[in-house]
Amino acid sequence: MEPLSWTGSIAFLNPLLMIALGLMILSIVVWILTSIFLPETPMTVNPDGTLTSGSGLRNTVQMALRYSFLASVAISVAYIVLGIILGTGAGIIGAISQQFLPVWVSLIILYAMSIAFKRRLGLYGKLFDSPIGMIGFGLVMFWVFTGIFGALDLIVTHDPLVQVSGMKNKVPGTPLPNVEDGEYAWYLLGGDNLARDVFSRMVKGAWIVVQIAPLATLFAFMVGITLGLPAGYYGGRLDTFLSFLANLILAFPVILLFYLLVTPEIVATGVPNYMAAVLFVFPILFIGVLLNSRYYTRPKFRTPLLIGVLGVAIWLYLSLISTGGYIINTDAYRIWGLPTYLDLFDIPGGILVVFVSVVFVNSPTVFRIVRGLALDIKTRDYVAAAQTRGEGPWYIMLWEILPNARGPLIVDFCLRIGYTTILLGTLGFFGLGLPPESPDWGSTINEGRKLLSIYLHPALPPALALLSLVLGLNLLADGLREESLKD
């Protein structure tokens, strides 16, 4: 087998892309300069009330920028399309775009459906009016689909944990020495210092992030909302106490907290299990209070609903916190949990402690945001109206204040998923929590950085992957903020 070059037979696109990118950069620079030094183009009002803007230098520059941008995008798409058709014939880029085929298909379907029905989809549909939001959403969904399909073994070329002899630190596109039938013949992005496939590890790493980050953020929001609403609404002693606790956690440098909480020794003491048992109660409380405050006037409907929902929630809660029949299982003592035949899933101690500490670090900030919003919104007229109607405090908090605080909360949710991704990477970077052979991005960066001055390829793909995911989430949040401010 021949080693793959980067672009293979579609190398003729390279100079075109270079020219398009060069033109784009040039026109951006000129665009900025003209916006500073030239006056705005005058607008003339026509007799029929329409506006005509002159075709000054500014418009020319803007046209140049638009066309060079479109050209760059078109050439990039050409790389991907030709790559999908030609596969390894189009070098590493072609092979990678062919491997990502399920992701492209799902992205196209998702975008086509969303744009077709965007007027009926509320805030989500409005996202497709803002180019920034669309780019951000595209980046995020790219990694989400990559994570899901990677977990289904669709994209990966090799087992991310298997070492192939002779592939240690090999450059991207190196063929495997002895290819067996049905085995992918190249390491597309090279091998790391333990001779594992960098590409497959990056794809598998996406799944770890996609699993943990949104869920941990969601839990942090449940905790923050359940505590922040009463703190803001009631105020007084409760507020002082809860705010003190939140500030206490926020005064900890995050890394010190991680070093104290996420060690094998702490896992052995069962501290994360206690914390999980406490933190994971909040979603149940939240759901219970949410439904009860809404439907308590209709007991015939409320009681079966609560029994059903809380039953499932508590079952999930118990299976989440109990492992192998125990909630806490240390050498000194153990606490019985759900028996194994009822236990739906087990979470390995390493993942649980990572999850718990990320929730723990994020919830005080959410608490502060929710408290601030509640303080602001509780002075509004509709809250006073609800109070006059005689609604209970929890109804007002959860069904009057919370829906009206959703805009900033949704935006913060997106930003916070990005921040959680960064935190997960930090944990991996310091080798905390997840097992050392785990393919998550932080650990891979940590391993790759040791030989960074000689071999770039093991550390750069996960670093760029993390960067693009977090960037996507930031852009998505920006787009959402812009669109939610419009109405």
Binding site: I32, A251, P253, I255, I445, R449, L456, L464, L471, N474
Partner: protein
């Protein structure tokens, strides 16, 4: 105002007490002590030997008593072992009962003895803080002016080309954590594969002899991550000020645009970023830990990693006290500074 500061100091002390107790509790859990015993004594100690080792050195007393000893409100633990060795919480290696004080805690100005570095904690923390202080100084010198300039330029004409380009730049920097940007910088500027050997990949030599070549990359890496956030806040505050009534009045009077920005808008626009810069310190602390590990610069963050990795209880406590005070004092400064900068706010 005096009462306000006094109360804040009270809360600060309470916070520090709570936090150090949490750190103390977590580092004194038995598996952590076992690890300490094995690294200090002998890796192959049996369970009984570990327990005896810990018991002889006073590690198995109740947590509150040990915490009191660290604070200096209960007398230190001492014991003479069967082989004549004199050990205890206040005893330095080779110490005798005569030259050991009865109370040795934070209140007495004694921060303890680091089991990893085999040295006084006070002097270690001082030395490492010096290194980190130097790093932080240059980070602030690079970060604050750049962020403010970027923010003001972006915010003075909302929606302009300059605004969009600079906003994109600041979003990208906030999305790039230090361990990503650091790795990318090392890859581009120091590796032999790319060939641009402009800088050095480690900052170890920068501790004795900082030069642009070995010190710029760590500074840039920390500064970039914090810069985006401050720039975005400055931009938001600047756009808000630029739509204010008095700016419109100035425009209608015929004041030139540069005068409006420099003389009318800038001062009011910089109030909010001031608080943001102060509240960035806790995040900078995180960045310091990552960058010092990445570039092997032996400062405060590096000491934190060493202490935490080896369960060096007293060093870890001193480090958490220092970092907690950094966080709380910057919060206090931001509150007080906000009142001085913004006369509309009064503390009652």
């Amino acid at each position: 105002m005096g009462l306000f500061i006094l109360r804040r100091f009270g809360v600060m002390l309470l916070t520090a007490l709570c936090l150090t107790f949490v750190v103390f509790f977590l580092t004194n859990l038995y598996p952590n002590l076992e690890k300490l015993a094995k690294t200090q004594g002998n890796q192959r100690m049996s369970d009984e030997q570990v327990e005896a080792w810990l018991d002889n050195r006073g590690y198995l007393q109740p947590t509150l008593i040990k915490y009191g000893q660290w604070l200096g409100v209960t007398p230190g633990f001492t014991k003479t072992l069967a082989d004549g060795q004199f050990v205890g919480t206040c005893v330095r290696p080779g110490g005798t009962p005569e030259d050991t004080r009865n109370y040795c805690g934070v209140l007495q100005g004694d921060w303890g003895y680091s089991t990893v570095f085999k040295d006084e904690v006070g002097s270690i923390v001082g030395k490492r803080l010096g290194n980190t202080g130097y790093l932080m100084f240059w980070v602030l010198v690079l970060m604050v002016p750049t962020a403010l300039i970027v923010g003001v330029l972006a915010g003075m004409r909302e929606g302009s080309a300059l605004d969009r380009s600079l906003s994109t730049f600041s979003i990208i920097t906030t999305a790039t954590p230090e361990y990503v940007s650091g790795v990318i910088f090392i890859a581009i500027f120091t590796s032999s594969t790319v060939g641009l050997k402009w800088f050095k990949g480690t900052a170890t030599s920068a501790m004795d002899n900082p030069t642009f070549e070995n010190f710029f990359l760590p500074v840039l890496t920390i500064a970039l991550y914090g810069m985006g956030y401050i720039a975005r806040m400055t931009r938001a505050s600047m756009t808000e000020v630029m739509t204010a009534q008095y700016i419109r009045t100035a425009r209608l009077k015929g004041v030139s645009f540069s005068n409006i920005v420099m003389k009318h808008a800038l001062r009011n626009a910089l109030i909010a970023p001031f608080t943001v810069i102060m509240l960035q310190f806790p995040w900078l602390l995180n960045g310091v830990v990552i960058v010092e590990t990445l570039f092997n610069y032996k400062g405060f963050g590096w000491a934190l990693v060493q202490a935490a990795g080896n369960n060096d209880i007293q060093l870890l406590l001193a480090i958490s006290v220092v970092s907690v005070f950094v966080v709380l004092i910057t919060q206090l400064i931001s509150d007080i500074g906000y009142v001085y900068l913004n006369p509309r706010i009064r503390i009652s």
